[in-house]
């Protein structure tokens, strides 16, 4: 299944979770094989979304960087009963969308289908067999490996990718989050078919799966679908917990010389894990600092006042264990050092005190914007997959606006001062900064 490589920034946005009003009624249960299911009925449109999430992201690569990503690509390319071309033809003639995606924490497989009789069941069957009866063909393996290498060679000349990769490496050192999700040219050249088979057998098991279902179904149908989907999966077991990342002990700064007209800047540090009690306060503060586009302080200072950039912002990516907080921008080489100074001074000012009007405005944005966050099946599916996978409370979405509303300026600043240290930032610049 085709992984969708997303930029780091895009990843942040999808992580920037927010909630729902109380009217999203999540039902949850376990299949007899031990997979966790999250279900929301959406009767309005004749369609169905399923996501199956495994703890099988690139953090599980070991020293075979790129293995989770390549496995995600290869799952469902052929099965015991169907060739690759048969699977492709069947998918398209049903109008179904079947895909895979991988990040550091997880590998996600998704089905989108219409629920019309004559389509729904064949689409579910196809999804099930692709996911659970996958076979790995040497020729397909080699072809997809080569395609991955082409993508990685492109990234070697993309200043945006270079900045992102260098940032994670400097921030996470030897931790499994440090390396790029799709590996490197050198590591992907070393991957073997048997590595993929072993990874699939180890991680693509029921006990390691979370299933999110949103669509025109009742709970009884959803139960049957989930049961059937996992019936032939081995039960297996969850992998061991990931190690805790260690914060860097002092300031780190890397300049990667590159022939580009802009300098691509990242500055950040290790943030928090999903479910951290301080996350609400940190998230609210970041929304004001750099997480809300034109309402944010960084946009105001770096772009609106000085015209230095087109894009600037910051965000937390809460993950299974502490994910990063990062600020980012790109500006012409001659402005790079000036822009860096403005970012740092904006953060410094923010950490000292928050203006009352700004604080109320940003709260109103978050609370008032809730209905927008749950206005489609796709968005609801994303949230319940996240809640299920990270084990967040079932009322997480309902609670979010209440928790945001209840926060005081002091609580936000306290949380930031506790977790954030401007003197221990990891900074990366790719370009010819001056």
């Amino acid at each position: 299944m085709k992984p969708v490589y997303s930029l780091f920034i895009a990843g942040l946005l999808s992580f920037a979770s927010l909630p729902l009003w109380a009217n999203v009624d999540i039902q949850t249960w376990q299949t007899s094989k031990g997979a966790k299911v999250m279900f929301v009925a959406a009767p309005e449109l004749p369609m169905l979304d399923i996501q199956v999430v495994f703890d099988a992201g690139s953090a599980r690569d070991g020293d075979k960087w790129g293995l989770a990503s390549l496995t995600t690509t290869l799952v469902g390319t052929r099965t015991a009963a169907m060739t690759e071309e048969q699977i492709n033809a069947r998918t398209n003639e049903l109008g179904a969308q079947i895909g895979g995606d991988v990040d550091r924490d997880k590998a996600t497989f998704s089905l989108r289908t219409i629920t019309r009789e004559g389509v729904l069941q064949p689409a579910l069957d196809l999804f099930k067999t692709s996911l659970t009866q996958s076979r790995f063909d040497p020729e397909i393996f080699e072809r997809e490996r080569q395609r991955t290498l082409v993508g990685l060679r492109q990234q070697q000349h993309s200043p945006e990718s270079l900045a992102q990769n260098a940032f994670w490496k400097n921030l996470y050192g030897d931790h499994p989050y440090a390396h790029p999700v799709s590996g490197t040219v050198a590591t992907v050249e070393q991957l073997k078919l048997k590595d993929v088979q072993a990874f699939y057998q180890r991680y693509f098991v029921a006990a390691n799966a979370t299933i999110a279902i949103v669509g025109q179904l009742d709970v009884k149908q959803a139960k049957q679908i989930a049961e059937n989907l996992t019936a032939t999966l081995p039960q297996g077991e969850k992998p061991q917990a990931l190690p805790q990342p260690q914060a860097v002990s002092s300031v780190k700064r890397e300049i990667v010389p590159f022939d580009s007209s802009q300098t691509y800047f990242r500055m950040g540090q290790i943030g928090v894990a999903r479910g951290d009690a301080d996350y609400y306060a940190l998230f609210l503060g970041n929304h004001l600092l750099g997480g809300s586009g034109f309402g944010s302080l960084l946009m105001e200072e770096v772009r609106e006042k000085r015209g230095l950039v087109y894009g600037v912002g910051s965000g937390f990516a809460p993950m299974r264990v502490a994910g990063p907080w990062v600020s980012y921008l790109s500006t012409k080489n001659a402005s790079a050092l000036e822009a860096e100074k403005v970012v740092r001074s904006t953060i410094e000012t923010f950490l000292k005190s928050i203006d009352d009007t700004h604080f109320e405005a940003i709260k109103e944005n978050l609370v008032g914007g809730f209905p927008l966050r749950i206005d489609s099946n796709a968005k609801i599916s994303g949230y319940i997959a996240m809640i299920g996978y990270y084990g967040l409370p079932l009322d997480y979405l309902e609670q979010f606006p209440k928790r945001i509303q209840a926060l005081s300026k002091q609580e936000v600043l306290q949380a930031w001062r506790k977790h954030f240290d401007l003197s221990k930032q990891v900074t990366v610049m790719v370009g010819q900064p001056a």
Binding site: N92, G95, V150, F294, E304, G307, Y310, S330, G368, L372
Partner: protein, 458 residues
């Protein structure tokens, strides 16, 4: 891009949007009104969530621009957030943010559009704001100069440091010689640097009027209530005289054109295009539907011909695509792009792509292939309804180029009626060597050894 997250993407999007359309199953129809001043109003109900999207589309974009002033529509889009007689610079965005809204804008070859997504109780407020900047924009010189710098940064980020985008820009300017379809939506760098504040003021005066705009509202609303709000906020403005653009019809191409670009990359890339009509410019619209089917045969899903033959069969391409912007307002291109699995395979890949084109001329497409195209279209027609933004985009993009709002509802029936013979006929007529432009990106040959790609802990 604020604004403008979508300058480059729009061309494809408009097509993708239209491709979503299918026949008209049982869902809300579009209510269509016209205000006395000529402004069009289109409303579609979607009551799944208490949310509404407002979009205002102006019929001006990069194909309306003159040499020396390319990108002016996009620059004006940026200035639309910089204050009015009633609002300070940036205040528009701050107000929408306090409502919990999302907002932005985008510019394409065909149009410039502004949108806000808000809780339905805030529709009137955003309508008041949007109508204010339709007629009361203040373009301040110092704000303009800062924002011009922002746009140069945007161009550096999108184009200058991205050889693939640069290839596309130069390809387009090669395929079109005299048509303004050659203009980059963001503008050439020298043009951006040379804008004056009066260029912007003139452009605003020339195009931003109710009779050159379309209002689209989709969401948890009542069409009659939307209409009465629209009358209150947009209906009071007088229409302006909008001068028609000159035809600038692209000259006939009489022989292959080819360019090379050397860029900072190890991975070459190939872009090809044939001149074709759009639904607006075609003498016979059946040719457009045949081209749309042809495009889906080549690149509609993994089972289509290009991925099957070039990526998996011959294993020449790491990636390949076909595209046709059927709803451009001017004559357009049928495009093919491809990335070889290795640089040495570039010539073979070019030949294989053209072989696929030849096959379309000689062998009729099978019923099974046509069936797959239609099945995917039909499913997509359900999927796009999951997003109120996507629904509004389709309506706005059609109406803004002068197509009827129900183009959508008739689309699938039109595709269904395309015959294998018609597909062959358009392939023979348009996909010819003399009508072809080819652009190739090559590595620049410089020594990049000082660049340290990420090696991590190896």
């Amino acid at each position: 891009m604020k604004r403008n997250t979508r300058v480059k993407v729009m061309k494809k999007l408009a097509w993708a949007a239209l491709a979503f359309s299918l026949t008209a199953p049982a869902h809300a129809k579009i209510s269509e009104f016209s205000l006395d001043n000529g402004m069009k109003v289109l409303v579609k109900e979607d009551h799944r969530a208490p949310v509404v999207v407002q979009q205002v589309w102006y019929r001006v974009g990069s194909t309306y621009e003159s040499p020396g002033k390319t990108g002016l529509s996009h620059m004006l889009e940026h200035m639309m957030f910089k204050g009015t007689k009633n609002l300070q610079p940036g205040e528009f965005s701050k107000i929408v943010s306090r409502l919990g809204g999302e907002e932005n804008a985008f510019t394409s070859a065909n149009y410039t559009a502004y949108y806000q997504v808000v809780g339905k109780q805030h529709l009137e407020k955003v309508m008041q704001l949007e109508s204010d900047r339709m007629r009361h924009l203040v373009i301040d010189e110092s704000e303009f100069l800062k924002e011009r710098d922002v746009v140069t940064e945007e161009r550096r980020w999108r184009l200058e440091d991205n050889p693939y985008s640069k290839l596309n820009e130069q390809f387009n300017a090669t395929a079109f010689l005299n048509s303004p379809a050659r203009n980059p939506t963001i503008g050439w760098m020298t043009d951006i640097r040379s804008y004056t504040v009066d260029d912007l003021r003139d452009w605003y005066r020339q195009w931003y009027a109710p009779n050159n705009a379309t209002l689209v509202v989709v969401g948890d609303v009542d069409p009659q209530q939307v209409l009465s709000l629209a009358k209150r906020y947009y209906g009071a403005y007088q229409p302006e005289k909008i001068e028609a653009t000159k035809p600038q019809v692209e000259i006939e191409q009489e022989g292959l054109r080819r360019i090379e670009l050397k860029g900072n990359t190890q991975v070459p890339s190939l872009q090809m295009g044939f001149h074709v009509p759009s639904l607006l410019t075609a003498e016979n619209s059946r040719e457009v539907y045949a081209l749309a089917v042809l495009s889906a045969l080549l690149d509609g899903g993994e089972s289509s011909r290009l991925p099957q033959t070039l990526v998996r069969g011959k294993q020449l391409a790491a990636g390949v695509s076909a595209g046709y912007s059927a709803t451009d307002r001017l004559d357009t291109l049928f495009e093919l792009t491809a990335t070889p699995v290795e640089a040495g395979k570039l010539p073979a890949l070019e030949k294989a792509l053209l072989d696929e084109v030849e096959k379309l001329k000689t062998a009729p497409v099978s019923a099974a292939e046509l069936q797959r195209v239609l099945a995917m279209e039909e499913a997509d027609h359900v999927y796009y309804r999951d997003s109120i933004q996507a629904q509004a985009m389709i309506i706005g993009s059609l109406v803004s180029v002068g197509l009827p709002a129900d183009t959508l509802d008739k689309w699938i029936d039109n595709l269904r009626s395309v015959t294998p013979e018609e597909v062959m006929a358009v392939a023979k007529k348009y996909l010819t060597r003399d009508n072809l432009t080819i652009a190739t990106l090559y590595p620049d040959g410089k020594d990049h050894s000082h660049i340290k790609p990420y090696k991590g802990r190896l």
